[in-house]
Amino acid sequence: MITITDSNSPQRTVQIDASGRPANTVAIAALVAAGALTIQSESRARRVRNAANAAILAASMTDGEVDWLGDGLVMKDSTATGAGSCTDDLSVDGLIPAIEMTPKHFGWSESLSKSAQTSAIQRMVTYTNTINAGYAAANNDAPGPIVDFGGKTYDVNGPFTFTSPGIDLRASGAEFRQNVDEPLIKIQPSTMVDTPDASNINDDILQNVWIDGFYLRGAFTDPLTSAAIQISMCKHVHVGDRMKYNGFRRGLDIRGCKEPIYIGANNMFSNNSVTGDTGDGGGEMIVIQAQEVWSTSTQKTANDPDTEGKYWSYPNKVSIRAHEMRNGNDAMATAILIRACDGLDVIGAHMVSFNDYMIVVDQQSSKTPCTNMTFDTCFFDGAGPTDGIVEFRDPSFGAVDYRVKVRFNNCKFNGAQDPDALDDVGVAGTGLARLLLINSPNVEECHVTACEFDKCVGTSWVEVLQGYGSFILRGNQFTCTSGNKPTQFIKINGASQATMFKEIVIESNTFRTDDGLQSSMPTYPIWVTGAVNKVVVNGNVSKNGTGTINASFDGFVRTTSLSAGTVVGGRWRGGNLNPDQPLSGSESAAYSDASGNSVSKGTVYWTLSDGRLEMDFGVMGNMDVSTLTGTDEFRVDLPGSFAQTSLVDSGDGTVRFRTMNVPPTAGTLIAPNIPAGAAYINFIKYNHDGSESMVLVSDIKATTDIMSMSMRARLG
């Protein structure tokens, strides 16, 4: 500290933090005089922070030299290992950190052999780890070294393992070429050599990891199964915006890291030049998973992390931004594999061409969560050999401590009707099986909002086989054409699995065709089958082409073999109410109706809950009951007030719905003995003067006391 005081007015004073520079200047000059240092420019010398450490650095070198690199001191090693090497020399705490190191200072040259280049990079890695450890131990307020690879091409084989805190790896498009099955860059605590300490995980976590500007290129001769970059047990991890990966079976492997983990706008590209190698179905561009942690080998032997959750460290608060992830002529399986995390947001990612599902949630352990995950404004482009877009995989374990929670907002699920359409997709495809598949009994929450589903050749674009909590599809648009008409857009299939969502809500979605042809629409937008708990279908719209309401579905919801639970239909537009196959008489299990009352059969309800019946009721007036038999029963429940009504057999193949203009009363209409062969129920209004008319929108609206109405069809 320099203190300047006005000799005439001592209250006038100022202090300057000169960081010891004046005295450093003296010490540095002494080093220069002794030949230990060469000062290359004044500006570099200005930033020397600690001449005492510089002296230690100079004195510690027995087989190398101290030099300036950028603004800091570095050691140039002339011995790779053993006595005299940087590693050996730097076994001194409190070394001055070097700034802006490049491989050239460790003997690397582009003209060297692969082996020699690899050795040079390894020397730099060792030096970085050592000097960072010294820095961390004794000089916490000083900056660590920046490892700058520039824009060169490095013909090397990893792994290059960084184990010290404050890793800062920079490049300006430097290309790394590897052909061994190892991670190219590994970043992990030194304790990973044995086991991180489960008793205090945070002590073992490596802090502050920055990587930016790399082009990591592998698999020149052999497909790799390892990751280009593997980051384990670190926190404050930043993988920059300027990364490119190519030719690895796994791009970025995040294991057990802690918040925040930021993965910038990386460009991930998988391509393998090996003829005939069109992908083995393995590999992921990004993996987010947990890491086992142990204090001792004995502990590891004696315990199972799946029963002792404390032996898992799982990532939290992972951010993935604006990725471009695509495959060339060797397709990876998956863009993002999520095995364990608490907090994940993926925003603006574009994924193209994988040979399995693009997004896979495959819970690693019953003791690890996959929760608080959000995908926003992503474009899932199913070109190439992609099997599907999103899959929640059955983890095949029973009771769990953590479940799966995920939301998709404003994403586009593109099934790639013509999967080979993109010029830069190297592997031909056959079209996607599904856009969204939920087959995990641990999905506590899956909400899909304002997304677009289109161009899928699969028979069911969204299929639910298992679940746990709630699955909500709200405000989405499903668009098909004649070339990719599914059997149904959404299939809720509880036929073969024991655990199903407690509630499924399909609400305010639009189902449409963009070619304007009714024939392009599926027969049923929604199919519910097997055992469900409660499926609510409300406020959806079907459109034919761009404008008119499409009223020509055979039925909006198809129900077959509904063995448990209820399907509740609310307000909807387009299509007819048609429980395709009302439950057969042989089924006898006890089920509950919408009010919780026990009924003898599964039931399909259509509930018009708010009295706004205009279009809905008008459409229902053309209800197809052709599958009902003479002993079946058709009910019109009127929980609210309604005019005195009755259903009558008109004797002409229709059932007529009769209402009189009398003071309204609540009641239930039962129309037994529907005539055999009846095709429709026509709602006919018998007026008090004996005339009759069709029930029209205006008629219903005139009955202002209507508060709710439900209709159900079942076998008696």
Binding site: I2, R12, P22, A23, A45
Partner: protein, 95 residues
């Protein structure tokens, strides 16, 4: 508190640098703002304990406002500078 002066006042600063022995160091200092540049005089007191003084022959024409100032250290061709600090020149009233 900061360093302040009025034009015409006597400038004499006592400096103590606690960073160590500065023996053999040439110390220079100046104030400047825009086109104004004035070389100050540095006089050693005891550089082994970092003690020296800074003075000006005349401050009569120092422009009112904030002047920049720093210290330059030279040892055998090795040069470093201190951080830049401010010296405030107030307008004088009494003539």
């Amino acid at each position: 508190m900061s360093l302040r002066i009025k034009p015409g006042e006597t400038l004499e600063w006592s400096v103590v640098d606690d960073s160590g022995d500065l023996t053999g160091t040439t110390i220079e200092s100046a104030v400047s703002f825009g086109d104004f540049y004035y070389q100050l005089t540095v006089t050693e007191v005891d550089l082994s304990i970092g003690s020296y003084t800074i003075s000006a022959t005349s401050t009569e024409y120092f422009p009112p406002g904030r002047l920049n100032c720093d210290l330059k250290y030279t040892v055998s061709g090795t040069v470093t500078y201190s951080d830049t600090f401010s010296v405030y020149v107030d307008k004088r009233v009494t003539k």
